[in-house]
Symmetry: C2
Subunit: 725 residues, 2 copies
C-alpha cells in the first residue's frame, strides 16, 4: 500500500463517517424514529428531548455528550457503563499525554536523522516514504538519537502507571459509593449457597438450609429459596406465555377488522394441528383461550411438584441485615470448602438458574475442560475453517447443491466465490465467536450472567490479542523461526521486534477503518432502524411486540472491550516506534468516547448491574499491554544494536511491581463487599418478603400465573360478552 492509497482509504472512511453522522442528525429528529434514538429516555418515562435544546446543528449531540457528567451516566446506565467510560478516558489519557511529548520531540528527531534506510527495514516495505521518515526506523543503528526514544519509552510507561493508578482508585470509590447507597437493593440482602450436602432422611433441603443458617445467624437469617429443577415448569410456562401473546395478537387483529364496513368484524382463525400449520380450522380466540385454561392447572400442579420434590443442592438465603449478608459471602461455613459454599448473591435477573446446582468438583472439572477447549480454539481455529473451505470448493458445492449449478457457472460469480469462500468462512466464524465463547463460559458452571460475560470477554481478549496482533505481525515468521527460538528463547523478542515495523501500515488502516466506519454505524443505528421499521410494518400487532422490536438492548461492553484493547495494544506497541499512530489512537478513543456517551445516555439500557466488577479485568489487560509494549521496545532497541538497551530492563520489573501492588491494594474489594461499605444506613427497613419474592423464578411465581388468568378473563368479557360470568 503506498501513501496515496492509504490517504484514499482514510479519506473514504472519513467521508462515510460524515455521511452517517448527517444521516443520524436527520433521522433522529423524526418522531417515528425516537424509539430507536432515545429508547433509554423513553423507557425511563422521560421526554426524548428533555433538557435538550432543539437545533438543526448536526453537532449538538457532541455538545451534549461532552457536557454530561459521570453522575449522568450512572443515573442513565449505571455504574458499569461509567466504569467503561473510565477505561475509555484512561486509554485516551494515556495516548494524549504520551502524544503531547512524543509527537513534537520524536518526529523532528526521526525526520532529521538523514539516514538512508533499506527498503526491507521500513514500515511500508519502501513505498511509504513520508511516513517512514517520521518513525524510529529512520534512525541509524547505534545512533545517539536513540536516547530520546529511550526517554520516550519511560515517559509512556510512567503516564500509564499514573493514570491507571488514579483510575483504579476512582473506580473503587465509585463502586463504594454505589454499594453504600441507602436504597434497598435486593441482592445486598441475599447470599448464594451452593454444594449443600444431601439432607438427612425425612428432611427437605429447605428445612436443612433453614436449620443450618438459623444456628449460625439466629437473629439475622430470614429464609431461603431453594433452587429447583424447573425444566418441566419452564416448558409449560413458555407455552402458556406463547398462547397469551397469540391471544393478544388475535384480539388486535379482530379489533382491527371491525371497520365501518364490517362492524361485527371477522374473527381470526388458526389451525389446531402441528405448529398451527395443519389440522382443521378453528376460531383463534376461542382456541387460545381454551389452551390457556387447560395449561394453567397443569402449570400449577407442576409448580407444586417442583417446589416440593425437585429441590436441588443450591439455595439463595436472605438476611435482614446488609452487613451480615456481605460477611456471609466471604466466610467459610463448613470445615470442608466443597460443602456449603457461600458467595455474594448476584441480582435475581442475572442468575444462571441451571448452573447453580452444579457441584464443586463438577465446576472445577468443567472449568479446566473449557480452558482446554478455548486453548484449542485460540491456537488451532484455522484448521476447521481451512477444512470447511476446502470441502466447500466450487466443485463440491456444485455436487452438493446441484440447483445452484447455473448460478455457479457464471464466470464473475465463480471468481468472486473462489476468492472469497475461505474469507467468508472466517467471517462467519468470527461473527459466531463471541456467542460461542459465552456458551463456553456458561458451561463452566458460573452462577451469574455478568460473570459469564466477563469470562467470555476475557477469552475473546486472548483470542484477539494472540491471533490478530501477534498472528499478523509475526505471522509465518514465528513458525519458520520456531527452531531458532527453541535454541535461544530470548530471540522471541527479536523476532517480534523485527516484524513489527512491516505491519505498521496494515494496522494504521485497520484502526482508521475501525473507528470511522464502526462508530459511524454505531451512532446512526442504521441497521436497528431498518429492522425496526420492517418489523413495525409487517410483523408487530400488539404494543408488546412493538416494544420488543425497538428494545435497545445492552451496551455490551463485554465484546466492545476486547476490540478496544486490541487497538490500545497496537497503538501502545507502536507509540515510540512510529509515534504518528498515537494520533489515530487518540481519534479512535476520542470518537468512541463521544459516540458511546451519546448511546449510553440515550439508547442502551443495561440489563444488569455489577457495580464495576469488570474493572480489575480492564486494569489487568491494560497493564499486560504495557508489559507487551515494554518487551517489544527492549527487543526493538536490541535490533537497533543499541548497546544501552539494558537501561530498559527496569521497566518490565517496575510494571510487575506496579501490577502486584495495585492488585493487592484494590482487587479484594471487587471480589466482595467491604463491611464498612455495607454498614451504611438504609433509607427504609427492607421489606423482606419483597426481597424474597424478587428471586422467585417467573415460572414458579403464583402471581404471574394469576396475571395470565386475569388477562384471559378480561379478554373473554370483551370478545364474548355473553359467554363469560
Amino acid at each position: 500500500m503506498d501513501f496515496s492509497s492509504f490517504l484514499t482509504s482514510l479519506g473514504t472512511s472519513f467521508v462515510i463517517f460524515l455521511v452517517l453522522m448527517f444521516l443520524f442528525t436527520w433521522l433522529s429528529r423524526r418522531p417515528s424514529n425516537h424509539v430507536i434514538y432515545y429508547p433509554n429516555r423513553i423507557m425511563r418515562g422521560m421526554d426524548p428531548y428533555e433538557g435538550i435544546r432543539l437545533t438543526r446543528n448536526p453537532f449538538t449531540w457532541i455538545k451534549e455528550a461532552v457536557s454530561s457528567t459521570e453522575a449522568d451516566v450512572i443515573r442513565h446506565s449505571g455504574v458499569d457503563a461509567a466504569v467503561y467510560f473510565v477505561f475509555l478516558s484512561t486509554a485516551l489519557g494515556i495516548l494524549v499525554f504520551s502524544g503531547i511529548l512524543l509527537l513534537p520531540v520524536l518526529l523532528p528527531i526521526a525526520y532529521t536523522a538523514k539516514n538512508k534506510i533499506d527498503a526491507n527495514e521500513t514500515t511500508s516495505e519502501g513505498t511509504f516514504n513520508e511516513l517512514d521518515k517520521l518513525s524510529m526506523g529512520h534512525i541509524a543503528q547505534k545512533s545517539d538519537r536513540l536516547w530520546a526514544f529511550v526517554a520516550a519509552t519511560y515517559w509512556v510507561s510512567f503516564v500509564t502507571y499514573y493514570l491507571l493508578w488514579r483510575s483504579y482508585r476512582h473506580v473503587s470509590n465509585m463502586r463504594a459509593e454505589a454499594l453504600m447507597s441507602p436504597e434497598v437493593r435486593n441482592e445486598q440482602f441475599a447470599a448464594l449457597v451452593r454444594d449443600i450436602p444431601a439432607p438427612e432422611k425425612g428432611q427437605s433441603i429447605n428445612e436443612q438450609v433453614d436449620s443450618y443458617f438459623k444456628a449460625i445467624y439466629p437473629d439475622t437469617y430470614y429464609k431461603a429459596m431453594v433452587i429447583t429443577n424447573n425444566k418441566v415448569v419452564n416448558k409449560i410456562y413458555a407455552e402458556l406465555e406463547g398462547y397469551r401473546k397469540k391471544l393478544a395478537r388475535a384480539e388486535v387483529i379482530y379489533a382491527e377488522s371491525k371497520g365501518t364496513a364490517n362492524p361485527e368484524g371477522t374473527r381470526p382463525t388458526t389451525r389446531a394441528g402441528f405448529m398451527e400449520l395443519i389440522g382443521k380450522k378453528v376460531d383463534a380466540l376461542e382456541y387460545y383461550d381454551k389452551k390457556i385454561r387447560e395449561l394453567v392447572p397443569k402449570l400449577e400442579s407442576e409448580q407444586k411438584i417442583a417446589l416440593k420434590d425437585k429441590q436441588q443442592s443450591a439455595a439463595v438465603v436472605f438476611f435482614n441485615n446488609r452487613v451480615i449478608a456481605a460477611a456471609a459471602g466471604q466466610c467459610l461455613h463448613d470445615t470442608m470448602l466443597d460443602k456449603w459454599t457461600v458467595m455474594d448473591a448476584p441480582e435475581a435477573r442475572q442468575l444462571l438458574w441451571t448452573n447453580l446446582s452444579k457441584n464443586f468438583y463438577e465446576r472445577l472439572i468443567r472449568q479446566y475442560v473449557v480452558y482446554f477447549v478455548v486453548f484449542l480454539t485460540i491456537f488451532f481455529y484455522m484448521i476447521p475453517i481451512g477444512l470447511i473451505s476446502a470441502l466447500t470448493t466450487l466443485a463440491n458445492l456444485e455436487k452438493l447443491v446441484p440447483f445452484l449449478k447455473p448460478v455457479l457457472e457464471q464466470t464473475t460469480i465463480r471468481t468472486i466465490l473462489g476468492a472469497y469462500l475461505p474469507q467468508i468462512a472466517l467471517i462467519i466464524f468470527l461473527a459466531l465467536l463471541p456467542s460461542f465463547l459465552l456458551f463456553l463460559s456458561k458451561a463452566e458452571g458460573i452462577p451469574s450472567q455478568s460473570h459469564a460475560e466477563r469470562a467470555a470477554s476475557g477469552k475473546y481478549y486472548y483470542f484477539s490479542v494472540l491471533n490478530i496482533f501477534i498472528g499478523v505481525t509475526v505471522g509465518h515468521t514465528l513458525f519458520d523461526s520456531f527452531k531458532a527460538i527453541e535454541d535461544n528463547p530470548n530471540s522471541v523478542f527479536d523476532v517480534l521486534a523485527a516484524s513489527l515495523p512491516g505491519s505498521a501500515t496494515f494496522f494504521l488502516t485497520f484502526v482508521a477503518l475501525k473507528f470511522f466506519v464502526g462508530y459511524g454505524l454505531e451512532l446512526s443505528r442504521i441497521v436497528p432502524l431498518i429492522i425496526f421499521h420492517l418489523k413495525k410494518k409487517y410483523l408487530c400487532k400488539t404494543e408488546d411486540e412493538l416494544k420488543e422490536a425497538w428494545a435497545p438492548g445492552d451496551l455490551n461492553y463485554g465484546t466492545r472491550f476486547p476490540d478496544d484493547m486490541l487497538v490500545l495494544t497496537i497503538v501502545l506497541c507502536y507509540s515510540v516506534i512510529a509515534p504518528v499512530i498515537l494520533l489515530f489512537g487518540v481519534l479512535y478513543f476520542g470518537l468512541g468516547w463521544l459516540v458511546l456517551r451519546n448511546q449510553v445516555l440515550k439508547v442502551y439500557v443495561p440489563s444488569y448491574q455489577t457495580y464495576g466488577r469488570m474493572w480489575p479485568h480492564m486494569y489487568n489487560r491494560v497493564a499486560v499491554s504495557l508489559l507487551l509494549y515494554q518487551a517489544t521496545m527492549v527487543g526493538y532497541f536490541g535490533a537497533k544494536e543499541f548497546i544501552y538497551t539494558p537501561v530498559l530492563i527496569p521497566l518490565p520489573i517496575l510494571s510487575l511491581l506496579f501490577i502486584y501492588f495495585c492488585t493487592i491494594k484494590y482487587y479484594r474489594f471487587f471480589q466482595s463487599t467491604a463491611l464498612d461499605v455495607a454498614c451504611r444506613e438504609l433509607k427504609e427497613t427492607p421489606n423482606m418478603e419483597g426481597v424474597f419474592r424478587s428471586y422467585v423464578a417467573c415460572s414458579l411465581s403464583t402471581e404471574k400465573t394469576a396475571e395470565v388468568i386475569q388477562f384471559v378473563d378480561d379478554l373473554a368479557h370483551v370478545t364474548r360478552p355473553g359467554s363469560a360470568v
Copy 2:
C-alpha cells in the same frame, strides 16, 4: 565403610540407647527427680504416679505410651501435640505398609538376580556386599525383574496418598472438635486489627476503633485494646520484677541465716553502684524495698502515658459472639486491603507485641527481604563458615589469643584442633541456625509466636532437605556437571539418580545414629537433669527460682519436624532402591513415637495452642517428599536403561492432582474458623471484661503492679515489724 564396621556402629548406637533407657528407669523413680521426669503432671496438679502402676520393669513406660489414647494427648498437651503424633503415625504407617509388601517381594528378587555388579555401581563402593545384593543395584540393566520395582514404586505412592488423605481428614475433624468446644476461649472472642489509618484530629485511636467497629457490629462489638508502644514501660517493669525477685531471694537468705546459733540472722548486703558490683555496701532488704517503692509510681505514670499517648495503629477488638469474631477475621472491612486489616486473634500469650503495629507495606517488604536472606543462607552458608575457619587457623589463633599459645603448642591438641576447627565452626552454625531462622521469621512482622515458629520450621526444612540431602547425595557432582545440566535440564534427575546409591550407606548410619542416640538422650533427659541439680544446689534460693530451673518447656515440634522430614525423605527416596532402609525408617518413627508419647504425657508443657495449624505444612512437605521420591525413581529407572520408564510418568502428575485437591478441600479451614464450628453452644456466657483483661500486657496491668506492692508490704511486715504501718 564395610559391613562389619557398619554393624559395629549400629551395635554401639543400640547399646548407648539401652544404657540410656535403663538410666531413665532408674533415675525417674527417685522422688527428687520427679520434677524432671513428670513436670507436666506436676504442673497440672496431678500426682506423678497417678494412674500408673509402679513396677521395676524398665518397659513400663512403653506400655503406658502404647495404651494412651489421642484424647489423653489432647488433654495433657493439646491438639498441636496430637497433630504431631498424627504426622508420626502417618510416616510410620507409610513405611510399615510399604515394607510389608516391599521387603518380602523385592529382596528375594534382587538377591536372586545373579548379576555381577561393578564396584562403582553398588551402594557401598564395593565393600558392602551383603547389603548390596538386596538392592536394586543388583538387578541387571533392562532386566524384566525391574517390573517388580515399578509396581513397588506405585504401591508406595498409593499407600502415601491413602494415609495422607485419611490423616488430613482426621486432623481437620480434630481441629473442628477443639474449636467447637463449649469452653470459653478468650481468643475466640477477639480479632486482631492492623493498619488502622491515622485518626482525625482530636480523636484517639481507641475512639476511632470504637466508632468504626460499633458502626459495623452494633450489637456484638464489645471494646478494643489498642496496641501501645511499651518500650519504656517494659523496661521499668523488668527492673521492678528484677528487684522483686532479688528481694525475695534476700529474704530467703536472711531467713536461712536465722539458725539456732544466730537467732537474729545476718541481714544480707549488696552494693549500691553499677550492676551492684561496686559502690558502698548497703542492707539488701532495705535497698531493694526502697528501689521498688521508687519504681512503682514511676511505672504507674509511664503506664498512663503509654495508654494515652503511645497508641499505635493496631488493636485487639472483642466481640461478645464467637460467630461474629470468626467472621470478622475473614471479611474485608475497608475498601482498601491495606487499611483496617482484620484477622483472627492469636492467643494473648503468643502475641508478638512489637510486630503488631508494623504496617502492610512494611510487612510485605520485610517478608521479601527475609526470603532473600534465607535464600542466601541456604545456598551460601558455607562461605562465611569457610572464612571463619580460615581466619581462625592455629597460626592466627596464636596471634590473637597469645595466652593460649602454650596449650596450642602441644602436638595432640594441635592435630585435633587443626582437623576439627572447620567442623566446630559448622557445628556452632548449625546449633545457632534454628534461633537465627526464628529471629528472621519474627523480623517478617508476623503477629504471633506460633506463626513465627511455623515459618522458621519451614525455612529449616528447606535448609536441611536442600543442603543435607541433595548436598550430600549429589555433592560436588552437581557443580561439576552444572554445564551438562544447563545444556539438557532433564539430566538433573540422572545426576541425582546416579549419585543416590553411593550415599545409601552414609544415610543408613546417619539414620541409625539419629534414632538410637537422639531418642535415648531425649528419653533419659540427662542434660536437663544435670543442669537442674546444679542450679538447685548452687543458684536457686526461692521457690520461683526452683520452678524456673525445672520448667520443662515446649515439645518444640517446629524444630523436630524438619529433622523427621529429612529422615522420611531419605527413607522414601531409597525405599524401592534399597528396601532394607525401610526397617531403619520404621525403627526411627516407631521409637520416636514411643519416646515422644512418653515425653508429651509426662514432661513437656505446651506454651501455646494453634489447634493444628501446623498440619497443612506437614502435609505439604510429606507430599513434596513423595514427589521427590517419584522424580528420583524416574531418573533411576532411566539410569537402568529400562525402556518402560515412561509408565512412571503418571505418578508425579497424580501427586500434583492429589496435592491440589487436598489443599482445595481442606486447607481453608486451617486458615480461618468455619462459622458452622464457631456457632456451637457455649457452657457459659463469656465474661467479656475477663476476656479483655487477658490481653492486657503484664507491664500495663494495674493488677500486676498492685501485686508487687502487696508483696513488698507483706515482706516489710515480716522483716521490719516495727517500721511498717
